[in-house]
């Protein structure tokens, strides 16, 4: 570990490292000997966007998305650099988030909606999105538009009409209707 025992320390990618007061996260990371091959580009200019990181501050519950070069290191802070492409890698379900956003932006709502079939709304893609697109919420919007605009099933509408007309009244005393063999599955 760098520095002496009195230096403040934070945790970066699972390693607890000391840092100089006033250092940015990315400086602390580089000084601790991490390889600069990922997550470090302009180192403080704030222009390249390579040092995206998830940060949790001491005592806090919120996970923030920050640029590590623009954020001061703090004692006890826990940092994970996002070293992968964030679009689809941010999704623990491996959904095609990036393509779905492209589809939605081009007005192709149906494939955009279908891409989120297995979405669990964990919000990781929204947290990770540098464009602040909120991809999963965009996906839900596409799904809801698609479903809400779909034509209702004819038999559902027939049944609703029958209920309205009173021809589906329920007799509380009739509790034994044997299965109709012609409709068995």
């Amino acid at each position: 570990m760098a520095g002496d025992a009195t230096d403040p320390a934070l945790t970066i990618d699972g390693r607890t490292v000391a840092f100089r007061a006033g250092a940015s996260i990315i400086q602390a990371r580089l000084e601790a000997g991490f390889s600069p091959d990922v997550g470090a580009g302009c180192v403080g200019h704030g222009s390249c966007g390579s040092c995206r990181a998830m940060v949790r501050r001491t005592g806090g519950r919120e996970v923030e998305m920050v640029l590590a070069c623009e954020t001061d290191a703090e004692p006890g802070m826990v940092v994970s650099l996002l070293s992968l492409q964030v679009d689809d890698a941010a999704c623990p379900r491996n959904l095609s988030v990036h393509q779905a956003v492209v589809d939605a932006a081009a007005g192709r709502l149906s494939p955009a909606a279908a891409a989120f079939d297995e979405c669990v709304m964990c919000d990781l893609c929204t947290v990770a999105c540098p464009e602040q697109i909120d991809p999963n919420h965009l996906g839900m919007f596409a799904r809801r538009v698609r479903a809400g605009a779909a034509t209702h099933p004819a038999e559902l509408l027939v049944r609703l009409r029958d209920i309205e007309r009173g021809s589906q009244a329920i007799d509380l005393d009739v509790v034994d209707l044997p299965a109709d063999p012609s409709t068995a599955p």
């Binding site: 709304m121 799904r143 809400g148 779909a150 209920i163 009739v174 509790v175 109709d180």
Partner: protein, 539 residues
């Protein structure tokens, strides 16, 4: 340990036995089976409630303990606290809470207070689907009759009729809200809903979205609630007590804002209790399919404010929870697998029950196989086989098309349901009863409404697959509508926790301890330190 057939031998017997699985099953005496092998029939060993509206009735010990519990809140805790007010307060952010909030918010302002993140609930885990009599070969009467018989004729008939009547309209409401349902193949825009048959029913009536129906429903509801201008959402804010006026009418609640570590008094004309289920009580050490939040909070809150419970002693054990590996024990294999034709096979390679009989019957039958040495043992886990390979061989697209969750859990746990049977055992799944309500969602306490799994009367002593999500939608909407009606005249008495004074006197009178605290919110009931830490207000 109970005798059981070792896994490798059971696999051989399963392979050898497949050819005879189409043969008729021996007759089953279901009454005797249920009496001997279903936990609901242990009543003579349960404690009797000593206080409250259901005093004198036996309940499972884990639940009785919560119903006998004290509140963590005292007058000093709520003096000078932050206050909020709204027309309606919804306690719980799962399926029923969100449905109720959206319905009430059509005309009044709503606060939703959720212990966890909005939507983190049993609803989101529901796999099978939602029942509604929409098919031309089906009718409201048939759905009604199936539900009454499925509940062994112990359900409230008016309540069942109300739920069944609302079914088709609930489906339309969900579609209009943007929920996707599986439809039949074809080009027609109005092509029918895909329907499957639930155990214990006489028509194909379950509509679904793959085996993630609850997920699809919950994420649509959550999204709709999030962007609704008349709904305020408080997350990580469990309700720890209800507020009453001088007449015992419920007029709000004491919330615990865990983020800011403070209590918040919330005043409302109507409170809708939608706290969900109780699976995490893990009755008798049972595994559970339930969300971590299912700790019966609403039952404890409602009971000590004077709301009567009905059927709260009755629980559903889903027949097919994963039994192996242990780390997923209790999680569901959807009934959709049995609907698609997968059979249950014991350690001798034999079928032993009609897989689409009512859930309690199938559960008791599995329990009997295991108790009598015909179960299958793998790494200390005991269950029976769900024969997925045979049904996948018949319909190779089944897993990819309808059983995503089974396929995913299989992948994560080194089980390929296409080639090997899944070891399953019953898992605590659903509380059949709960807080008594009428068809408007009104409890026996004025001002207090309830909806969803926390309620009782609708499913009798056994719930059919697909009737939980329907219950959530139907009574969520009914309670939401009721909550928009003008509240009755207030007594003018002071708003507070006067009911707790009476409750504590009753506990003392019955010789019950005052240091048992509920709701437990997060901790398991056998973890008193964590329980108190969660329930007590922080300085």
């Amino acid at each position: 340990m109970t005798d059981a057939v070792a896994y490798p031998e059971a696999l051989d017997r399963w392979r050898a036995g497949r050819a005879r699985h189409h043969e008729p099953l021996p007759h089953l005496d279901t009454a005797t089976l249920l009496a001997q092998h279903h936990r609901d029939h242990d009543r003579d060993r349960w404690p009797t409630l000593l206080v409250g509206p259901n005093a004198g009735e036996p309940h499972p010990p884990e639940l009785a303990r919560l119903l006998h519990a004290n509140s963590a809140i005292h007058d000093a805790d709520i003096a000078g606290t932050t206050e909020l007010s709204s027309d309606v307060l919804v306690v719980g952010g799962g399926g029923a809470g969100c449905v109720a909030a959206l319905t009430a918010a059509e005309s009044v302002d709503v606060i939703v207070a959720s212990k966890l993140r909005l939507g983190d609930s049993n609803t989101v885990m529901a796999e099978g689907g939602i029942q509604a009599a929409v098919g031309p070969d089906d009718s409201l009467q048939r759905h009604y009759a199936d539900t009454i018989r499925g509940g062994h004729d112990t359900a409230d008939r008016e309540m069942v009729a109300a739920m069944v009547h609302d079914g088709p309209d609930a489906i339309r409401w969900l579609m209009d809200l943007g929920m996707t349902f599986d439809r039949e193949e074809g080009a027609a825009a109005d092509r029918p809903l895909r329907r499957s048959r639930a155990g214990g029913t006489t028509a194909a009536r379950v509509v679904s979205f793959g085996d993630a129906t609850g997920l699809e429903m919950m994420r649509v509801l959550r999204e709709a609630v999030r962007i609704h201008p008349r709904i305020r959402i408080l997350e990580r804010t469990p309700t720890v007590e209800l507020l009453t006026d001088g007449n015992g009418r419920c007029v709000g609640a004491v919330l615990h804002d865990l983020e800011r570590r403070r209590l918040v008094l919330t005043h409302a004309h109507h409170v809708i209790l939608a706290t969900g289920g109780a699976g995490q009580l893990r009755l008798g050490g049972s595994p559970t399919s339930n969300h971590l939040g299912a700790t019966a909070d609403g039952l404890a809150l409602a009971y000590r404010v004077g709301a009567r419970l009905t059927g709260a002693d009755s629980f559903q054990y889903h027949p097919t929870g994963w039994a192996w590996p242990a780390r997923v024990a209790g999680h569901l294999v959807s009934e959709a697998a049995r609907s698609a034709g997968a059979v249950l096979v014991n350690g001798l390679g034999d079928r032993f029950v009609d897989e689409l009989a009512a859930r309690d019957v199938v559960t008791a039958a599995i329990a009997r196989e295991c108790a009598e040495g015909r179960g299958i043992e793998r790494d200390g886990c005991i269950g029976v086989f769900l024969d997925t390979p045979t049904v996948v061989a018949r319909d190779p697209k089944l897993l990819a098309r309808d059983l995503h969750t089974l396929a995913r859990l299989g992948r994560r746990n080194g089980v390929d349901p296409a080639t090997e049977p899944v070891l399953v055992a019953p898992t605590l799944h659903y509380q059949n009863g709960g807080v008594a309500i009428d068809a408007d969602g009104q409890t026996t306490v004025e001002g207090l409404l309830a909806a969803g799994e926390v309620t009782g009367g609708i499913h009798g002593s056994n719930r059919l697959m697909g009737n939980a999500l329907l219950d959530v939608c139907t009574f969520g909407r009914r309670a939401g509508r009721t909550a928009t009606r003008p509240a009755g005249p207030r007594s003018g008495g002071p708003v507070g926790i006067e009911h707790l004074r009476r409750w504590r006197r009753a506990l003392i009178g019955a010789g019950l301890p005052l240091d048992e605290v509920a709701p437990i919110l997060f901790a398991l009931p056998d973890d008193p330190i964590a329980r108190r830490a969660a329930a007590e207000p922080q300085p």
